[in-house]
Each structure stands twice: as structure tokens, then as C-alpha cells.
């Protein structure tokens, strides 16, 4: 452990967590290696690929370029924390139906980012979906299935609301 270790207190997927962390440990490593929440995937570790996207106080963020020590007092939600989230359930169903994943490495980040897109851009057309999702890279699907999955959820929600 680092000589500079700090004690932080935060909420992870609804559970209060107290931890002593080296300041250099990024949030992705903290979640995976200390909290054993390995649903958060680390791809590039410099903020480009989006695989590690999680929610901080409900807003999407890159866990690889956010340090755990900076999250003292915050509420962090990983893909595991979305198990009972109704919108995440709709997205999982749609990703499966539309072939929105193949190897699955990017999927946790895709689901977190897609959930934000559905909530923030309920009128998004396919171009807007592609733009809003462009911070998450997938090396298998070519994105068509991912865009269709998000399209399906947005359309279903708008139909039900109408």
C-alpha cells in the first residue's frame, strides 16, 4: 500500500463502502480489484474506449481516468448495480434480440452509456444515437446491432408513453 493512502467513504451499488486507497488507484481498478465487481471492463485505460464507463452520482463517467480517492462521498453504480434497473433490463433484452454484442467486452460500458442516451435523448434518431454512443468502441458488431437495440428501446418507450 502506498505511503500516501487515504481513507474514503462512498456508496457502491447502494452499499456504503469505507476503504483505504492509494491515490494513484483509478476507480476501475478499485471496483474490480477491491470490490471484486469485475463487470466493469478495462480496455484502453486512457479514456478512449468507453469499456469502463460507470455512473458517478447517476452520470456516466470513465472509471479509468477518475481516481477512486476523488470519489469520496460519491455514489458509484456499476453494471452489476443495474441488475434491477427497469431500463437496463429493457436494454439487455434488446441487445440480445438485436445482436448488440458478440464477445461482450464492451457491453458493460455500452449498457451504461446506452441507458444515459435513452434517458437524455428520448427523441434521438439513429444518427443521434450513433453520435451519442461514439465514445464507446466495439470491435465485433460494427455497431448496427447496438444502434438497433437502442432504437428498439426508445421506440418501445415512446409507443408505451403515447
Amino acid at each position: 500500500m502506498s505511503a500516501h493512502a487515504k481513507t474514503i467513504s462512498l456508496t457502491v451499488n447502494g452499499t456504503r463502502v469505507e476503504a483505504t486507497v492509494p491515490p494513484r488507484q483509478h476507480l476501475g481498478d478499485f471496483l474490480r480489484e477491491r470490490e471484486l465487481l469485475t463487470g466493469t471492463h478495462l480496455g484502453c485505460e486512457h479514456g478512449v474506449c468507453g469499456a469502463c464507463t460507470i455512473l458517478i452520482d447517476g452520470e456516466p463517467a470513465r472509471s479509468c481516468i477518475t481516481f477512486a480517492v476523488a470519489c469520496d462521498g460519491r455514489s458509484v453504480t456499476t453494471v452489476e448495480g443495474l441488475d434491477d434497473d427497469p431500463l437496463a433490463a429493457e436494454l439487455r433484452e434488446a441487445f440480445s434480440a438485436e445482436h448488440g454484442l458478440q464477445c461482450g467486452f464492451c457491453t458493460p460500458g455500452m449498457l451504461v452509456a446506452a441507458r444515459d442516451v435513452v434517458l437524455r435523448c428520448p427523441d434521438a434518431d439513429n444518427r443521434a444515437i450513433r453520435t451519442a454512443m461514439s465514445g464507446n468502441l466495439c470491435r465485433c458488431t460494427g455497431y448496427v446491432g447496438i444502434v438497433n437495440a437502442i432504437r428498439r428501446v426508445i421506440d418501445a418507450r415512446n409507443t408505451n408513453a403515447g
Binding site: R24, H46, P60, R62, T66, A70, D72, S134
Partner: protein
């Protein structure tokens, strides 16, 4: 891909932050959203001994209108500027530009002051705030000073910030009702850093005809006057304006910068 073992402080006041930043016994750096410094730390391009997190200082989070200008705290995020919970005196410049910075997950953490202090020539605020004629309020242990954007960005990753100083506020002047603006980035992929940026502003009330060519591998190139708006935005003219920049000698870069500015100009002339 792991940062060096640095120490970390999260002061609650600006005075406490400035006291830490003025230490000369350790290599100290301020950090806000860590969306640029985070990658640099992970890649070990930056190896500070102490990181001073300034994001919990309330006065750096504020946005307020002060007469004919908007005062934006350094730690205001791009996402907040995108969402627009403030009196936008710029006729849409701030929310529109904020919305095209990187990706939402980055905009939720990244800050306007951090972007300026980082001073990447391709960064949105570096070029747009230059076009708007904004001023940067710098805080240091010795007090505050105000610097225009044209004097703040000095080069690639180079600013007028002295050791121990941070960006405290950005002052953005209001545009008049007749003002028009245009903005174009040439990117191969949405959200990536721009290869060429054009930012233009016409504000008849201030007699302002301004073009800014950005992402030139140097400080933003400011071209004032109506000539470029009146059909003068040619590669030959741009080669002269960009003289001394690496972009001027590379035909592809020169064309890209000309196109970026032409497209921005077309937005205000249509």
C-alpha cells in the same frame, strides 16, 4: 498504464488549494476533472508528487452574470454548459460547443478551466473562447490577475500560468442581438480531437469580424477583419495567415484548415 505513486489533497477552499500549490518542496499539480491529466498520469507523461484536487471548492463551481458578461467558475463541467442552467449571453455558443466536446462521459467530469490550463491546441474552449474574446482570471498566492485568451494560450500545452497559479474564472462577454457565430471541427471520428478547427464571430455592435484557426500545432491564429468573410478564405490567404505554423507548409493540413474555416464562415453568411 498505472500512474506513479502520488499524494493527493482535496482542499475545501481556494486559499487552502493555493497554499498547497505554492509548495516548492514537492512537484505539485492541480487537477479538476482529470479527463486530460488522468490519461497523462496513466501513461506516466505526468509524474507529480502531489495532486491538488480543486473540484470541491464551491467558488470554482459557480456561474453568474456580471453586467454584460458571464462569469464561469473554472470547475464548471462541459456537461453543465451543454445543459444550460445559466443565462447564456453567447446566443448558443456555450451549449452548442460544449455538446461536441469528446463524449458525454468525459463532459460529465471535464471542466472548462481544466481544458484551458491543459491548453491542447485542438481543444474546443481554447479556440472558441479566443473567438469570443473571453478573459481568464488567474488566482495565485499573490492575488488575482486577468489575462485575455490571446495572452493566455502561448503555444502547445503552454499557458501564461505561473507555478502555484490556477485558472479561477472565465469571463465571457455578451454577444449583441445581431451577432452571428460559426464553428467547425474536422474530425475523422465524432468526439476525437480536431485536426483543424474554424471558429468565427461577427458582432456588428462591437465592430467585430473575427476568424480563429485552431488545432494548428500552435496557439490559435486570430484573423480579424471582414476579408475572409467576403470570399477571401483561400488556401493562399490561409498560407499567409498560418505562416510559421507547421500547418502552412503541409498542403493537406493547409487545405484542412482552409476548409474548417470556410465551413464556419458559411454558417454565418448563409
Amino acid at each position: 498504464m498505472k500512474a506513479v505513486d502520488f499524494d493527493y489533497a482535496q482542499p475545501a477552499t481556494l486559499d487552502a488549494a493555493l497554499a498547497l500549490l505554492s509548495r516548492d518542496d514537492v512537484m505539485v499539480r492541480p487537477v479538476a476533472g482529470s479527463q486530460s491529466l488522468g490519461p497523462m498520469l496513466n501513461l506516466r507523461l505526468a509524474q507529480p508528487e502531489l495532486l491538488v484536487d480543486i473540484t470541491r471548492i464551491p467558488e470554482l463551481q459557480a456561474i453568474r452574470r456580471e453586467g454584460d458578461r458571464l462569469v464561469i467558475g473554472a470547475c464548471v463541467t462541459h456537461a453543465r454548459l451543454e445543459d444550460g442552467d445559466y443565462p447564456d449571453v453567447t446566443r448558443g455558443v456555450l451549449p452548442s460547443v460544449a455538446a461536441v466536446i469528446a463524449y458525454r462521459a468525459v463532459r460529465n467530469r471535464g471542466t472548462i478551466g481544466g481544458s484551458l490550463a491543459h491548453a491542447d491546441p485542438a481543444a474546443d474552449w481554447v479556440n472558441v473562447l479566443t473567438a469570443l474574446g473571453a478573459e481568464v482570471v488567474i488566482a495565485g498566492a499573490g492575488g488575482r490577475r486577468t489575462v485575455p485568451m490571446t495572452g493566455f494560450i502561448l503555444g502547445v500545452f503552454e499557458t501564461d500560468l505561473q507555478p502555484g497559479e490556477i485558472v479561477a474564472e472565465i469571463h465571457v462577454p455578451a454577444l449583441s442581438e445581431r451577432a452571428r457565430w460559426g464553428y467547425c471541427k474536422v474530425c475523422r471520428k465524432t468526439g476525437e480531437f480536431s485536426h483543424a478547427t474554424g471558429a468565427v464571430l461577427i458582432d456588428p455592435a462591437r465592430g467585430l469580424w473575427r476568424c480563429v484557426a485552431g488545432a494548428t500545432s500552435g496557439k490559435p491564429v486570430v484573423i480579424d477583419g471582414p476579408a475572409l468573410f467576403e470570399g477571401g478564405c483561400t488556401e493562399a490567404a490561409m498560407a499567409a495567415h498560418l505562416a510559421g505554423s507547421p500547418a502552412a507548409d503541409d498542403p493537406i493540413a493547409l487545405r484542412t484548415h482552409t476548409v474548417a474555416l470556410k465551413r464556419a464562415i458559411a454558417q454565418v453568411m448563409s
